[in-house]
């Protein structure tokens, strides 16, 4: 699965996108967590999902990946209906994610974290494993080979045998991405991939995330609070607040949208808090970690 360019649909025709979400809704008891969320991610696209804290962004990810079952709505992955399916089935269908509160396999080594995810694409079962058949041996070798290449792309090869939990924060986030890529996904969901990183690291990640599409043929949807990054690399941005979509458009359109500005600050117009890409980001304060 190499390459992957942005598919341009001729005007008027209906192309199957990488991810087609239609009117996804979820309520917890009386509280509407997500209301009629829709999004069409084209093949090779890089879209963003932003909104104030508690807006429901991670809930959307959880709905997409099967952690929650939607009340209404549909999700199609390259035309295949995946809403209502279990997380492992959805991963196998080709959607992988990273987590807002990092969920690595702490005691395992870095490379084993990635190898574990790669296992989803193997064909040998328990008996082949116990008997060490040629197919099993070949698959294990292929896994190791591919995972080393993945670590290389993500820049953490030097930490290959270290325990995942002892990694510095930035490298843990990279490891999560490497692990997700090991499942050979068609769609990659990144949940705050640069949270807690310093300016230098963020700059590296910016280039890296953009290059993932070509290197791996994935389409990407990301959640982020760092507006500089979002405005810089996302082709289209969806803004949600309290589960409701309040704006969809290009970065320029979003920056100028009064509803968006109000959602973030509650004050209309004069003070424009959303930095343009040309401006240097003012602070790098990491997001407060949410209670587990």
């Amino acid at each position: 699965m190499t390459g992957g360019t942005v598919e341009r649909s001729p005007a008027g025709s209906v192309t199957r996108g990488a991810l087609d979400i239609k009117k996804l809704s979820l309520a917890f008891g009386g509280l509407k967590a997500v209301s009629e969320f829709s999004l069409s991610l084209p093949v090779g696209g890089l879209y963003g999902l932003i909104g104030p804290n508690g807006a429901g962004k991670t809930t959307v990810f959880n709905l997409l990946t099967g952690v929650y079952k939607p009340d209404v709505g549909s999700v199609e992955l390259s035309g295949l209906r995946i809403d209502g399916k279990k997380p492992n089935q959805i991963a196998r269908a080709g959607m992988a994610r990273t987590f807002q509160n990092i969920r690595l396999f702490g005691e395992l080594s870095v490379i084993d974290n990635v190898r574990t995810a790669a296992g989803v694409r193997t064909k040998s079962g328990l008996f082949r494993t116990l008997l060490r058949t040629p197919l099993h041996v070949a698959e294990e070798r292929a896994i190791t080979e591919r995972c080393i290449e993945l670590l290389d792309v993500l820049g953490i090869t030097h930490r290959q045998d270290e325990q995942a939990k002892s990694l510095p924060y930035g490298d843990q986030r990279r490891l999560e991405i490497a692990r997700a890529l090991a499942t050979e996904p068609k769609v990659l969901l990144l949940d705050e991939p640069v949270a807690g990183m310093n300016t230098q690291e963020k700059r590296e990640m910016r280039g890296l995330i953009q290059s993932l599409r070509e290197k791996f043929g994935v389409s990407i949807l990301l959640i982020e609070h760092d507006m500089g990054l979002v405005m810089d690399i996302c082709e289209q941005i969806t803004v949600i607040d309290h589960g409701v979509t309040i704006a969809v458009g290009s970065p320029k359109q979003i920056q100028d949208d009064p509803a968006v500005i109000e959602a973030y600050l509650g004050v209309p117009e004069e003070n424009d808090p959303i930095p343009r890409p040309e401006e240097a980001p003012k602070t790098d304060a990491p997001e407060a970690a949410e209670a587990p």
Partner: protein, 371 residues
């Protein structure tokens, strides 16, 4: 980047070598077991032979439990239930079968003679039945959270014990047994008195054969995708699901695999003690095995071997303090959990520790320096 399956064909090893590598460990297992039985056993004398036997059975039982508790991180405290199932089925086959087909109650034949083959069949049968129970218990309960699973496995162990206690009495006279067909005798497992006069087929050979086979399979499992999937379930089940692992299926497979070997262990136990008393294989026995796994290191094969050895040999050495044995165990358990919860080895193997690596480095340096 190339996908996994695109690389597989290029990396496929040659068939003859792979078959050789696959079978070799089992051949070595047979050889080692034979050595244990014919050389080491007689050399160390009767008392220590028995201790070696007990250690081997403990390795088999705790090693199989390690797959569920150690690799998959699930809390199963009913392992003795599988032992009991395996023991009963094997004893049914060997005791009643011996009478029906050989006409006697005592062991017949020599090494791998008719009697021992019947016993081997009993062991396998016991293992298979135990795995069936593993599916029945595992499928519904392995979706449950940690402490709830513990309760269900505890309940399973007790239910098996009770079921054993309400079976019909065991006819012991050869003439009586010959009149009843084998299938009818399935309910005559001794009831509350237990099943006795089981022919003593267990030898060091069988014990260590099965123990080595388990160790080889446990090793192969651990260093494979399937094994890593179990470790992932243990580390972070939600992330494991998100990475495509069917966590319930993985847990059930681990459970069934471990039940199979526990059934074999139960059969070996029954044919060594000569009797099967359901009260002996209850909660306490399950806890004994859990203690070995916890203290040895949950998830470590070498840890379980070390733990089994220590926890079988020490009580023998300190026989006169038998009253205090359980108290010492209890305190050890509490202390380990507070001070070193990963046990002696943690999830690492002996050759993965920094101590081992340092020694190997030093040895290599010495060899190079000596040249």
């Amino acid at each position: 980047m190339k996908s996994l399956q695109d690389r597989v064909d290029r990396l496929r090893p040659g068939l003859p070598i792979t078959v050789g590598k696959s079978v070799l460990p089992f051949a070595i297992a047979i050889l080692l077991a034979f050595t244990m039985d014919k050389l080491i056993g007689p050399a160390v004398g009767a008392t220590w032979s028995k201790i070696l036997l007990d250690v081997g059975i403990a390795i088999l039982l705790a090693g199989s439990l390690n797959i569920v508790n150690g690799y998959a991180g699930q809390f199963s405290i009913g392992h003795a239930g599988f032992m009991l199932v395996g023991g009963y089925l094997a004893a049914w086959l060997t005791f009643y079968g011996s009478i029906h087909w050989f006409g006697v109650k005592t062991p017949v034949g020599g090494f791998l003679g008719n009697g021992q083959l019947l016993f081997l069949g009993g062991c396998i049968l016991g293992g298979l039945c135990a795995s069936v129970f593993g599916v029945i218990v595992g499928l519904p309960s392995l979706r449950l959270r940690g402490d709830y699973l513990a309760i269900v496995t505890l309940g399973f162990g007790e239910i098996v014990r009770v079921l054993g206690q309400i079976t019909d009495r065991q006819p012991k006279r050869i003439d009586d047994v010959k009149k009843i067909p084998m299938s009818d005798l399935l309910n005559n497992l001794g009831g509350a008195e237990g099943f006795s006069q089981i022919p003593g087929y267990t030898t060091l050979f069988f014990v260590y054969f099965f123990a080595f086979v388990l160790l080889v399979l446990a090793y192969r499992l651990k260093y494979s995708s399937k094994g890593r999937a179990l470790l992932a379930v243990r580390e972070n089940e939600i992330a494991a699901e998100a990475m495509g692992i069917d966590t319930t299926r993985a847990k059930v497979i681990a459970f069934v695999f471990s039940a199979f070997f526990a059934g074999i262990g139960g059969s070996l136990y029954a044919h060594q003690v000569g009797a099967l008393d359901p009260k002996e294989l209850g909660f306490m026995k399950s806890i004994d095995l859990v203690i070995i796994v916890v203290i040895g290191g949950m998830g470590s094969i070498t840890g379980v071997v070390i733990g089994a050895t220590i926890l079988v040999v020490l009580p023998e050495i300190f026989r006169q303090f038998a009253d205090y044995r359980m108290i010492a165990y209890a305190l050890a358990l509490i202390t380990v959990m507070i001070l070193r919860p990963q046990g002696i080895m943690g999830v690492k193997e002996l050759w993965e520790t920094s101590l081992w690596r340092k020694q190997v480095k030093a040895l290599r340096a010495k060899l190079r320096g000596g040249k």
